[in-house]
């Protein structure tokens, strides 16, 4: 029987690593990720979780140790946040370029200065070009399910890319929610042991990650792009298969809510997507035809789904918990890029909200929706990027 636990997303991530039968963990503590690595330590030391746990001396070394372990052919896990993630920047590239299926929860936290430990997506968004697959979760159940799903995804020979599972600081990391944890034998059935084709093996000596000249480098990078395309195809399939096994699906690439007849679709990510569903219900009760599309996977970016949504609505209101300074919110940028060369694109307004942990509730989203509806009716977006609730 599946077991229901009430726990924080961080503890749930630790249980998911155990349920996935991770073999090596290398991690370094950083607020607000700490309760992931603490719970793993308890599970490993109590003997409940049969894994090697390397308490490394930095996040840079955490990822380098994961690279070594994964290259040696075992299922590997780490977790980080914020400054820890950006310290990992170099080995992130090395992990994806080495085509190693490492899974890593990232607790989305603001970057300093000034020091801020609260939710903000700039940490993981600033790593979007590292060749990692990126998922953004809306609740604790999704955190558990996505960790199990993504091992299956990234160990697939058509993918072989590492994955970040992003969850917002405190809003998920430290918030208790009920989560259904399936039986271990069912998880084992869904996720068989990792059997890599190539690994560091004295009976088959291969040189991993050695020098590649201009004659070959582009081909290796092309293969990474292909792998991302393959992932885009596999993610909805695996999500569906998971749903058939365990009863939970999370929308594949994009979790759509009331989008079918919506005049205005609010694009968002993470927990803002959960709040948006409440906002949609409230606005619909007032007769506004509004929907929400939570982009669950940012890399590979679900261009095709965005285009399909664009084709049947009048306007996108895009909410970002982060900004690329000098340009726009991250999701706003990618959405606009996806619509290039498309006929009859909808109006698009970008909203930057909730930086450094400022609350974004359904009320915030309702306000955003009303402003957008006003512009939609006038047929003109008056501000390309609105900073929501900014002090005067």
């Amino acid at each position: 029987m599946a077991q229901t636990v009430i726990d924080t997303a961080n503890h749930i991530a630790a249980y998911a690593a155990k349920a996935a039968r991770v073999q090596v963990i290398a991690a370094y503590p950083i607020t607000p990720q700490t309760s992931i690595v603490e719970r793993i330590a308890e599970l490993v030391e109590s003997g409940e979780f049969d894994a090697e746990y390397i308490r490394v001396e930095s996040e840079h070394s955490a990822m380098a140790a994961c690279i070594g372990a994964a290259a040696a052919g075992v299922r590997t896990f780490t977790a980080t946040a914020s400054h820890g993630l950006v310290l990992m920047h170099e080995p992130l590239h090395w992990a994806s370029g080495s085509r190693l299926p490492i899974v890593m929860p990232v607790v989305n936290r603001a970057l300093g200065p000034g020091w801020n430990i609260w939710a903000d997506s700039t940490d993981s968004m600033s790593q979007r070009d590292t060749g990692w697959i990126q998922f953004y979760c809306a609740d604790n159940q999704e955190v558990f399910d996505t960790i199990i799903q993504t091992y299956k995804l990234c160990e697939n020979e058509r993918v072989l890319l590492p994955v970040m599972i992003c969850l917002e600081a405190f809003i998920l990391s430290h918030t208790y929610m009920p989560v259904k944890i399936p039986d271990q034998d069912k998880i084992d059935e869904f996720l068989p042991p990792y059997k890599p084709k190539w690994f560091l093996d004295v009976s088959n000596p291969l040189s991993h990650a050695n020098i590649v000249s201009p004659e070959w480098y582009m081909e290796f990078r092309y293969m990474m792009q292909e792998a991302m395309t393959n992932a885009k195809e596999l993610i909805p399939e695996i999500d569906k298969e998971y749903g058939e096994h365990f009863g939970f699906e999370h929308g594949g690439l994009v979790d759509k809510y009331e989008c079918e007849d919506a005049d205005l679709i609010m694009l968002n990510m993470g927990t803002i997507g959960s709040e948006a569903k409440i906002a949609v219900d409230n606005l619909r009760s007032e007769g506004l035809k509004v929907g929400s599309a939570r982009v669950r996977v940012f890399r590979p970016f679900p261009k095709e789904e965005i285009r399909e949504l664009a084709a049947k609505t009048q306007m996108f209101a895009i909410v970002d918990r982060g900004i690329s300074f000098g340009m726009e919110g991250f999701l706003a940028e990618e959405t606009k890029a996806s619509l290039c060369n498309q006929k009859d694109s909808p109006l698009i307004a970008g909203f930057v909200a909730g930086l450094g942990g400022r609350d974004v509730t359904f009320k915030t989203i309702e306000k955003i929706a009303r402003k957008s509806v006003e512009w939609m009716r006038r047929g003109k977006v008056e501000e390309e990027t609105v900073w929501v609730d900014l002090r005067e």
Partner: protein, 314 residues
């Protein structure tokens, strides 16, 4: 371990080669000699971890390699960390007959890689770390490192380095690792013996191999072995081991405690273009530092209650 088993006549060494023909090391490259000797010592049941350094270039580019053992190339500062991951994975898989060897240059050890190495040592990671020390960033074209000695020309110290080299083996000894040793490919059997001894000891083993570099040190490519011997004979480089905290000089360094037995450092310095700018006062200063080092080695070798023997008791 009986020393007889560790040290065998050079003619009895394995004929197998795992650094194959076609590698692209410079003529007279000591690290290439060291790699060959490493394989003579351990055979091919090893996994090599190589950061950015000359040895990431020496094997040649994809799709070829001249290394016939599994190699994990890794980013510059991460040898100790990547090796930690491999060691953990092997343990998880129950593989106990494979030795993990970190093979890094001095920049990747003294400077950018010191953190990962220190962490791996503190975690008592079971692997051998060999620093081949050519006293500069060789692969990038001879820039100064924390291992570059006083007075040496490099491309970033065009008038000679103004600071001294870090005393790295003692930094590692301070981690209370079970085995620290120095070596030089000019003394191949000594190096092989130390590598084999390291393999038998559990925990982090650090071997510091002086690696004369004709390209960076500005001497004739035929002189690598001779320069290495002079480094030892002048006492600039001492061959020693620190085994479970106990310091011991090895032949021929154990015969050089008396200053009169050591050749003047000038003989070593004048053979190398990188020291061309040194004045007599610099040479005297370097000689004095060497003599001071030897007073310390002498004390450590004779004093059974030296700080280092407190290994494991603190």
């Amino acid at each position: 371990m009986k020393s007889a088993k560790l040290m065998e006549p050079i003619k009895k060494l394995s004929k197998e080669e795992y650094l194959l023909k076609g590698h692209i090391a410079c003529a007279g490259c000591a690290p290439a000699i060291g790699l060959r000797l490493l394989f003579k010592a351990l055979g091919n049941k090893i996994i090599l971890v190589v950061p950015a350094c000359c040895s990431s270039v020496i094997p040649g580019p994809y799709p070829y390699t001249s290394l016939a053992v599994p190699v994990q190339n890794i980013i510059f500062e991460a040898t100790g960390a990547a090796a930690s991951g491999i060691v953990a994975a092997l343990r998880k898989k129950g593989v106990d007959d494979v030795t993990v060897v970190g093979w890094a240059g001095d920049g990747g050890t003294f400077d950018i890689g010191i953190q990962a190495l220190s962490g791996a040592a503190e975690r008592e990671t079971n692997f051998i770390y060999i620093c081949y020390d050519n006293e500069a960033y060789g692969n990038t074209g001879i820039q100064r490192s924390g291992a570059t000695p006083y007075g040496a020309w490099t491309t970033t110290t065009p008038t000679g380095k103004k600071e001294r080299k870090k005393d790295f083996p003692f930094i590692m000894a301070a981690h209370r690792v079970p085995y620290v040793a120095t070596a030089c490919p000019s003394y191949p059997l000594d190096f092989i013996k130390k590598v084999r001894k390291a393999k038998e000891i559990k925990g982090t083993k650090f071997i510091h191999m002086l690696a004369p570099c004709p390209t960076g040190w500005r001497y004739d490519t035929s002189k690598t072995v001779e320069i290495g011997r002079l480094a030892v004979q002048t006492g600039m480089w001492a061959l020693f081991e620190i085994e479970y905290g106990k310091f011991k000089l090895n032949p021929p360094s154990d015969q050089l405690i008396e200053k009169a037995k050591r050749k003047p450092i000038k003989e070593y310095l004048t053979l190398q273009g990188r020291f061309r700018r040194l004045g007599e006062d610099d040479i005297e200063r370097i000689q004095k530092w060497i003599d001071e080092d030897w007073e310390r080695y002498h004390k450590l070798a004779s004093n059974s209650t030296s700080d280092l023997t407190l290994h494991g008791k603190i």
